[in-house]
């Protein structure tokens, strides 16, 4: 290895000038004392430790790695959504000069299938392909173009069959997989199901298939070792669960598979499932050489799961004052060909289907079905995004039916701590929904003059729209979801801390995917240990236990909690030794500014001296409070904690051309406690942008199972011209009692309510029903 992933160490990272974030805080002060927020600890505006190498181009992403004499891997994929494979001739490919290996399903030495929750997906297609892009063969060659041409030379004799593409038809259709066509059906029955309201509104809604579209394509480097094992440098969200699946399919012990996190170019859920991990290891073990693989952008669209497309029917009942009486819903998610996390996504979609509102009675039916469409799984918001569009569309419809202000309707129904969800669970943590609504809706209305600058108009510089032809609308939405894993899963993270010579070293396998955990880990260690220099050891499987997934808004709480606990364990050892030495109680000692100090001011010693030599070390596992499975009526304490956000969007629309320009986005969010203001702003702005994309432009277009737009030319994501400034009206800081420092995860809520608020703004501008996102120009112009 001549290039190694940059280990995030602690250089004298510049902290920069005071941040100009628009955020202000509301809500109660925290119970958890923050020790040194004024410096570089928790709460401070500290810069990323990897910021400097990233701006210099020196940070090593998983596609930047190489090794002496390495080979390039390439994947042959199915062109059919459904077909039997009658035969495969690899002869021409193997005969290509420069080719070292061509591998098929028969070459998989261990388990033939993999999967996060159910191992139902073939490593390589075995006699049958079930979606366009399913891997059929992998090739290793001495040049990427040779590998690609060799893959094209493989002759596969397919017998195409009619694909099953309608998830609503899936449960009664002939099974397209031995496990059947239903991933999960959920029935939530809560309260008096015969109740009816004075006012009833009904609607059917649809959400298209969104892609995570991270910038750094799937890539990695596998190196065979001398005793049949393999080392893999990889971009992923969860090293240890990757290892588990890789080892099973390679048929070797987990200890023989050593993963190290390589630089990750974004994730957003798309790296929770395996993509090329097993393929790389197979090729490396087969050839005895290092193998590197980098997906192209079009291949990336086939290489990972997407956000589930949804069809939703809703009926809301309310009394004459607008108080919700009952919510009925049926939600169908298209899970595509393989299970991935569909069973968890449909649980979330169903549990949160009624929104963050008090609902005395609910009947919610959720179905995640198998089809021959591309597999769907995790994406930021994880089921709550789809149903937020449904319940918020319904709340606006209900407000109109009641002739009531839509914000007022939401306020009188807002859930609070102590209230019950439709799953029967009582919310025991903080959940300031009403305050979030008030802060967002009550922010000063933006003063946006009609502009003649074409860049501000729908259609932009294309000179398509005249200012006089635009109409303006304002929309509002609020959404929520759970934090961490649910339904009885024993979710945990591991961390180790060592303090030697006054320097802290933290080891944690948490996948840094861009969210800034590396910054928080250093801040936490500084706060707990009173040190400044904190080294982060590489995230890898060989040195530490699982950190769990960088998903579900869970790492600040879970791995943050693990790092905090490890640091506190080390602190307690140090203080116990010093206390014994000084003949005082450890309760009278603290670590501060690189010193051990007695609170009475009588004694102090240099931490570097106390910890000279081998120093002190601790290794911990941090678990969140246990949760329960849902029962047959979808009832149970299935979730740990909840977070909400609200968005207000102002949009200008050209109704004749169907073009939209968003002029302002204002948001407020339930954050528990802000640990790093600039990083919090970044999560909120970035998450909001992904919601804007889903509302207006992002959709994987399918035609009988075929993907029509697998490129950044045809799958468009928001640019600088599409995203207005995001005004953060308030961070609503009500510290979560069980969370380290009171901080809730903040990554997902911005993506949940932003799509619904954009759709509401376009409806307000046009008066159209617009039951589907993304809203396409024709939906407006011909609507």
């Amino acid at each position: 290895m001549t290039t190694e992933p940059v280990v995030t160490s602690a250089p004298a990272t510049t902290t920069g000038p005071a941040n100009t974030a628009a955020g202000s805080s509301a809500g109660a002060a925290g119970a958890d004392t923050i020790v040194d927020a004024g410096t570089r600890g928790v709460g401070a505006d500290v810069g990323r430790p990897d910021g400097v190498p990233k701006v210099q181009g020196r940070f090593a992403f998983s596609s930047d790695l190489w090794a002496d004499d390495f080979l390039w891997g390439h994947t042959l994929r199915s062109p059919h959504a459904s077909a039997r494979i009658l035969g495969i001739d690899i002869g021409p490919a193997l005969a290509t000069a420069g080719v070292h290996a061509v591998l098929l399903a028969d070459d998989v030495p261990g388990r033939l299938t993999y999967g996060l929750e159910h191992a139902d997906q073939p490593v390589l297609a075995d006699g049958q392909v079930r979606y366009v892009g399913e891997p059929v063969a992998v090739v290793a060659a001495d040049h990427p173009d040779v590998a690609r041409r060799a893959a094209e030379a493989i002759v596969v004799n397919y017998e195409p069959t009619d694909p099953l593409t309608n998830p609503e038809a899936a449960p009664t259709a002939a099974p397209i997989h031995p496990n059947g066509n239903v991933f999960r059906e959920i029935n939530i029955r809560h309260g008096d199901l015969d109740a009816t309201g004075e006012v009833v509104v009904e609607g059917t809604y649809e959400v298209g298939m969104q892609d995570q579209a991270f910038m750094g394509p799937e890539s990695g480097l596998a190196l065979p070792d001398d005793d049949g094992g393999v080392e893999l440098f990889i971009s992923t969200q969860w090293l240890h669960v990757d290892r588990e699946q890789i080892a099973a399919c390679l048929g070797i012990d987990e200890e023989q598979v050593r993963l190290t996190l390589a630089g990750v170019g974004g994730a957003f859920g798309a790296r929770e499932d395996l993509s090329l991990q097993i393929h790389l290891c197979l090729l490396a073990l087969h050839t005895g050489k290092p193998v590197k693989m980098v997906y192209s952008r079009d291949e990336s669209f086939f290489g990972h799961v997407h956000r589930h497309p949804a069809k939703m029917w809703y009926r809301h009942h309310a009394d004459g004052d607008g108080r919700l009486v009952k919510v009925e819903a049926r939600i169908v998610l298209d899970g595509g060909a393989y299970a991935s996390t569909s069973s968890a996504v449909i649980a979330n979609a169903s549990c949160f289907a009624a929104g963050p509102y008090k609902v005395p009675a609910a009947h919610i039916v959720g179905l995640a079905a198998r089809t021959n469409n591309p597999p769907c799984g995790a994406m930021r918001g994880f089921g709550a995004v789809q149903t937020c569009f449904g319940h918020e569309s319904q709340m606006d419809k209900l407000a109109a039916a009641l002739n009531m202000d839509p914000v007022e309707l939401r306020l009188i129904n807002a859930l609070d701590s102590g209230d019950r969800l439709v799953t029967g669970q009582v919310i025991t943590g903080t959940f300031p929904v009403a305050e979030v609504i008030r802060q967002c809706a009550g922010a000063p209305a933006p003063d946006i003059p009609r502009s003649d600058d074409r860049r501000d108009l729908p259609g932009g510089s294309g000179r398509t729209t005249d200012a006089a032809d635009t109409v303006r609308g304002t929309g509002f939405a609020v959404g929520f979801k759970n934090l961490m894993f649910s339904e009885g899963y024993d979710d945990y993270s591991s961390a180790a801390c060592r303090v030697a010579d006054g320097v802290a070293t933290v080891t944690c396998a948490c996948a840094e995917v861009g969210q800034g955990f590396v910054t928080l880990a250093q801040q936490i260690a500084r706060t707990e240990l009173g040190v400044d220099e904190v080294i982060l050891a590489p995230a890898q499987t060989a040195t530490i236990g699982s950190a769990g997934s960088s998903s579900a808004s869970r790492q600040t709480w879970m791995s943050g909690g693990a790092v905090q606990a490890a640091c506190r364990a080390v602190r307690d050892q140090i203080l116990a030794d010093v206390a014994a030495d000084w003949g005082v109680s450890p309760d009278g000692l603290v670590l501060r500014d690189g010193l051990v100090v007695s609170l009475d001011g009588q004694q102090e010693a240099l931490l570097a001296q106390i910890t000279a030599g081998p120093g002190y070390e601790a290794d911990v596992e941090y678990h969140h409070a246990p949760t329960e499975a849902l029962d047959e009526n979808g009832q149970g304490n299935a979730h740990v904690s909840f977070a909400c956000a609200a968005h207000r969007v102002v949009a200008d629309v050209d109704p004749d051309l169907g073009l939209v320009r968003i002029r302002d986005i204002t948001t407020a969010q339930d954050v528990g406690r802000i640990l790093n203001p600039t990083q919090a702003v970044g999560q909120i702005e970035g998450g909001t942008a992904q919601g804007v994309g889903l509302a207006l432009m992002e959709e994987i277009v399918l035609d009988n199972g075929l993907v029509r737009n697998a490129s950044f030319t045809d799958y468009v994501i928001p640019t600088t011209l599409d995203m207005p400034d995001v005004t953060i009206a308030a961070w609503v800081e009500e510290p979560e009692p069980d969370a380290p420092y009171g901080a809730k995860g903040i990554g997902e809520p911005p993506t949940i309510s932003s799509s619904a608020a954009v759709a509401a703004a376009v409806r307000a501008a046009t008066g159209l029903n617009l039951p589907r996102i993304p809203i396409r120009p024709a939906d407006i112009a011909l609507g």
Partner: protein
């Protein structure tokens, strides 16, 4: 294999050997010369993560055949700071303003912002948005990036 040729990158003449003439400048920079700062997010000219300057012109290196860039001055992100430890004003601003998350789009943006501020030292918000509208970023929603550009422009203007 064709004859070796030479590329001038960041002021240094680099010999390119054993390279297929079909290789893009992006590929040669990354895989032949080890300059992996230039990124490969789409390799189809849509995202600008591979942006470099060729004779001062902002270019997607994925769309240029490497051999055609022989004899021209190529500047990559690695050539924009003042040595390993010194950051350019633009790089400094990106770090300070929190414009970096995963960082995959960052090198292309750094190159594009250098180009923008060279041509337009006092860009309006609309100018910045238009100039960077070809640089895709999926993490940030662009807010901190725009803040970094305005901050860098102000710093540059205040320098003698």
């Amino acid at each position: 294999m064709p004859d070796p040729y030479s590329l001038r990158v960041n002021g240094v003449d680099c010999e390119v050997a054993d390279s297929d003439l079909a290789e893009s400048l992006l590929f040669v920079l990354r895989e032949r010369l080890g300059l992996t700062g230039t990124k490969n997010a789409c390799t189809e000219g849509e995202c600008s993560s591979c942006a470099v300057l060729i004779d001062g012109v902002l270019t997607c290196s994925c769309l240029v055949l490497a051999a055609t860039a022989a004899g021209q001055e190529i500047t990559t992100v690695e050539g924009l700071g003042d040595g390993r430890d010194e950051l350019s004003v633009v790089q400094e601003a990106f770090v300070h303003e929190g414009a970096v998350q995963c960082g995959f789009c960052t090198p292309g943006l750094i190159v594009a912002v250098h180009d923008l501020l060279e041509a337009n030292p006092e860009p309006s918000d609309g100018d910045v948005r238009e100039a960077l509208s070809g640089n895709l970023c999926r993490c940030t929603g662009y807010g901190r990036i725009l803040a970094a550009v305005h901050s860098a422009a102000a710093t540059k203007r205040s320098q003698p």
